[in-house]
Amino acid sequence: MRLAVSLFATPFNFALTVLSVGIILLVLPPFLNFMIFDATWHGTSRADCLPNAGACWPFIKAKFGQYVYGFYPIDERSRPNVAFALGALLLAPLLIPSAPFKWLNSVLFFGVYPVIAFVLLTGGNLDLRIFLLGRFFDLRSIVDLGVTGGLRSTFWADFLLSSSFLTAFAALAAGVIGASIRRAAAICLMVVALLGAVLLAFDLDFGLRSVETRAWGGFLVTMVVAVTGIVVSLPLGILLALGRRSELPIVRFFSIAFIEFWRGVPVITVLFFATYMLPLFLPSGVSFDTLLRALVGVALFSAAYMAEVVRGGLQAIPRGQYEAAAALGLGYWRSMSTVILPQALSLVVPGIVNNFIGLFKDTTLVLIVAIFDLLGQLRASFSDPNWATPVTLYTGFAFAGVVYFVCCFAMSRYALFVERRVNVAGRR
C-alpha cells in the first residue's frame, strides 16, 4: 500500500512510474525470450540451434573448456582447476570477517599462494642460470656440478655467494651510516632467504609439464591479470600515496613523476609499449614473457590510479590524528599503519572497489597484444564454421556479459558489506 502511494503520489511520480514500467516492458520480454524461452538448450551442432531465434547455449557448452582455459593442454586442465580451487579456498575465509587466523590467512593468500599458482600453472622448473655474480664472471669454471632435481649448481652457488656479499655489504653500509649492523644484516638475510625460497620453488622440478603462457587463455588469463593487478596495485598504490605526501623531496618527486606518468598514458599504449616496443630497448637475448609484461603494465597502471584514491583518503584525516600518534611516540610507519591508513582506507573503500572493477573489465584490453582472455577466446570461437548460426555472436556476448556482470556485481556487493562494517565501528 505504501509502495503504491509513493509510486503515484504526485503527477511527477506518476509519470516516472509509467515511464519506468514502459521501459521494463519494452526491454525485459525480448531479453528473457532470447536468453530463456526461445533459446536452444540441448544439441550438439549448429543444426540444433538454427530453428530457434533465441540463444544457442549448446555452443557455449561445446566451447566452455576453451573459454575457461584457452589453449591450455586438455590433459593438464586439472592444474588450473587446483589453482582456482586453492585460490577460492584461501580467499573465502579472508573475506569473511569472523573467520579466524586472519594474519596467517593473508600470508598464505598474498605470499604463498602466488608462488604455488605460478608453479602449478607454468609447471615451474624455470632452469635458472645466472643470478648476480654470474653476470660479471663466468662461474661455470668454478662450480659446475650439473643439474639435480631441476636445480643448476652454478646458479645456486652464484645465489649463495651473491647473497653473502649483499649481506656483508648491507652490514658495512649500516656501520658507515651508524645504523645497527646486526639489524641491517638480519633484514638483508631475511629478504635474501625469502627470495631464495621463492626462486627455489620456481626452479625445482616437480615433474609438471611446462605450459607456456602463450597457451593460456580464457577466464584463466582474465583471472590471472585481474588478481595480479588487484593484489599488486593496492599495496603499491598505498606506498605511492604515502610517497607523494612524504617530506623527503626525492621520494615525493619520484612518486609524483610515477603517478603522473602512468595516469597520463592510456592503458592500451602501455600494453603496446610493453609488448612491442620494450624488446627493442632491451639488450638482445633478454626477453620477458608476453603475459608477464602485460601483467607488469596493468599492475603499475592501476597502482597509479590507486595511489590517487588512497591520497584522497589520507587528505581527509585531520592533522590532530597525525599529531596524537606522533605525541605517543609512534614512528612514521607505525602511525601510518595503525592510525592513519586504517581510517584513510575505510573512507575510500568505494573508490578502491571502483578501481578494482574497472581493472577487472580493463583486462579485456590484453586482447590487443595477442593475449586471449575470456573475450579473446570468445571472438576466436565465433569463426568455428560448425557453430555458424545467426545467433552465435549474440549468444557469445550474452555469456561474456553475464560472466563479467556476476564478477563485478559480486565485488560491488561485497564492497557495500565492507563499507557498512567499517562504518559500524563508530566514526566521528
Binding site: 585531520p318 590532530g320 590524528q321 599529531e323 596524537a324 600518534a325 606522533a326 605525541a327 605517543l328 611516540g329 609512534l330 614512528g331 607505525r334 595503525t338 592510525v339 586504517p342 581510517q343 575505510s346 567499517v422 565501528a425 563508530g426 566514526r427 566521528r428
Partner: protein
Amino acid sequence: MTDTIDNIGREAVAIDMIGVHKWYGEFHVLRDINLRIERGDRVVICGPSGSGKSTLIRCVNRLEEHQRGRVIVNGTELTANLRHIERVRQDVGMVFQQFNLFPHLTALENCTLAPVQVRGTSHKHAEEIAMHFLNRVRIPEQANKYPSQLSGGQQQRVAIARALCMNPKIMLFDEPTSALDPEMIKEVLDAMVNLAKDGMTMIVVSHEMGFAREVADQMVFMDGGQIVEMNTPKEFFESPRHERTKLFLSQILR
C-alpha cells in the same frame, strides 16, 4: 602492576629551554624563551590567544620545531635526530584541546595501542595497564565504546588515560578543557588534580584559574611570544608585577 607515576626519571631537571626562538615565516611566535622545569613541578601557562603558549609546549615534544636555542627534555636535547625525538615523545604524554582520540579504535584500544606498538608490551599486560588508568580517570565502564559514543569530558579523560599508559615522566596539557561544555570541565580537571597530587611533572596551558591556584607551583604568563612574568600562584594572583599581567587577570577573573 607497578604504580608507574612514582617511577620518575633520574635527572632533577625535566625540561630546560634556553634562549628558544621560533618563527612562522615572518611571524616571530616565540622570543627568547628561557624556562627550566624541575621534576615534579606543576606549571600552568596562561596568556591571551596568539601569545605562543601552545607553540611553547608543542616545542617540548617537537610537534613544533624551534629555530634557535636549545630544548632539553629528560636529558635529551631535541635536534633533527629522529631517534632522539621519538625517545622524548615516548616519555612525554600530551593531551590536546580537541582530544584527538583515534576514532576507529575503542577507548581501551586507544590506550593499548602505543604501549603494544612502541614499548612492545604484551596485549594482556597493556590491557591491564589501560584498565588501571581508565579506572583512575573513572571511566572503566566505557572501555569498549568508540570515541563517537562518548561525551566530550569522557573523551578527554580517555585521552589522559591514553597518555598515562605510556608511563610518561612529563605530561603536557594543551588547553584540555577549552573544547568542553561547562558541566564537563570539572570531571577533566578532577582527573588532572589527582595526577598532580601523585607528583607528575605537568605543564598545563589553561585559563582555569581555580585549577591553577589549586595545583600550580609556578604560573607563567605569556604575551607576544615572550614570557612576561613567572611566579608562584600566590604572588602571581595577589600581586602581579607587570601591567600586562594585571590587565589580563582583571579580564579573565572579573
